[in-house]
């Protein structure tokens, strides 16, 4: 009560309505700057502005890239706010530790644009067996050129293209053998 009488408000006078005004002013001093209600789980920023922790937390979550004090736009962060413990509050837990329940994460399924709808839902074993089975098959098919699939005929033996292709096919054969061995060991 004494503090109200000695309030340094410039327009203070001794009338009853003024003291009522002061009472209102006093409670306004402890209002959260976001919900405009008396701050609960109060925290104060380094720039001295009071908030409810849930309100400030949501403000910081809303704009993760630009964390500024809503009042003075000074830079603030979760670690640089001070929890306030009044005498009346029995709960001495750091308000920053009891986060308001966060909204659930929203996980969208990937779009199925490929030719195998639902392929991505197979487990790891399925994908691995596909790799072992399919790779040598395509390898043999391309090396020994099964069937006439409309590709140009292989170049003449002895031409530089033929030598190149021989070398390439040896490289691929080596890679295939290496890959199969690696798969078996792995």
């Amino acid at each position: 009560m004494a503090s109200r009488v000695t309030s340094d408000s410039p327009n203070s006078d001794a009338s009853g309505s003024a003291s009522q005004d002061h009472e209102k002013e006093d409670s306004k001093n402890f209002e959260c700057n976001i919900c405009l209600d008396t701050a609960r789980d109060a925290v104060v920023s380094m720039c001295g502005h009071l908030f409810c922790w849930p309100c400030l937390h949501q403000w910081l979550e809303t704009r993760p890239t630009r964390q500024v004090c809503p009042v003075c736009k000074a830079g603030i962060s979760k670690d640089k706010v001070i929890p306030l413990y009044g005498r009346g509050s029995t709960d001495q837990q750091d308000p920053r530790e009891k986060l308001p329940p966060r909204p659930p994460g929203q996980r969208a399924e990937p779009e199925n644009t490929g030719p195998f709808p639902g392929f991505g839902f197979g487990d790891g074993g399925f994908q691995m067996s596909f790799g072992i089975g399919a790779f040598p098959f395509t390898f043999f098919a391309s090396t020994f050129n099964f069937g006439n699939d409309g590709r140009p005929a292989p170049p003449q033996a002895g031409s530089p293209q033929h030598a190149d292709e021989q070398f390439l096919s040896q490289v691929f054969l080596f890679m295939a053998v290496f890959f199969i061995i690696w798969l078996m060991l792995a």
């Binding site: 700057n33 976001i34 919900c35 405009l36 209600d37 309100c55 949501q58 403000w59 809303t62 500024v68 809503p70 009042v71 736009k73 909204p103 659930p104 929203q106 996980r107 969208a108 399924e109 199925n112 639902g118 991505g120 839902f121 487990d123 790891g124």
Partner: protein, 180 residues
């Protein structure tokens, strides 16, 4: 891994449910509580030149009025605005538009307002009252560097001609319509 083994169709349906829930205001109560607080303080403050009240029963849609400040070309003119509050208010700004057509460098013909505090400079601290006061002072001090109405911005230098055109337009758009 286990979440990937479920039926994709079923999971799609579940995700839809979840996102619906996420879009819904998590806590409309706190938003309406804040709007009620604002309404109280706006009515108690007796701010000159601006007023606002919820439009019907919907607390999330307000109608505001502001009167042009004395000493500006807008003196004596009265404009209506609409304020639409998102469910994420006050963490995101309300959508504020002029309902009454207004000739101003920073307002387009649809009533959209170009004001930084309604966009990137929004802060949870701003209230209906501070928004309306800001818009009222924007009327007298337009930002002619990024105009939505270039004609108004160019004419602003010549205040006599600006006021003449402004009053003509106001008469055509507002006074005549009210009387008819």
């Amino acid at each position: 891994m286990s979440t990937q083994n479920i039926d994709p169709a079923a999971s799609g349906a579940r995700n839809k449910d979840m996102s619906d829930k996420g879009n819904k205001p998590k806590d409309t109560h706190s938003v309406s509580k804040r709007l009620q607080q604002e309404l109280m303080s706006l009515m108690m403050s007796g701010e000159t030149g601006v007023s606002a009240f919820p439009d019907g029963d919907n607390l999330f849609k307000w109608v505001g009025t502001l009167q042009g400040a004395e000493g500006t070309v807008y003196e004596g003119l009265k404009y209506k605005l609409t304020l639409d509050f998102p469910s994420s208010y006050p963490y995101t700004a309300p959508v504020v538009k002029f309902d009454t057509p207004i000739f101003h460098p920073n307002v387009d013909t649809n009533g959209n307002i170009c004001l930084d505090i309604l966009k990137e400079e929004w802060s949870a601290l701003y209230t209906v009252k501070t928004i309306l006061i800001s818009i009222r002072s924007l009327l007298g001090e337009p930002n002619n560097n990024s105009p939505l109405n270039t004609h108004a911005a160019e004419l602003w230098e010549n205040q006599v001609a600006y006021k003449k055109l402004l009053l003509e337009k106001y008469k055509k758009d507002v006074t005549d319509k009210e009387s008819s």
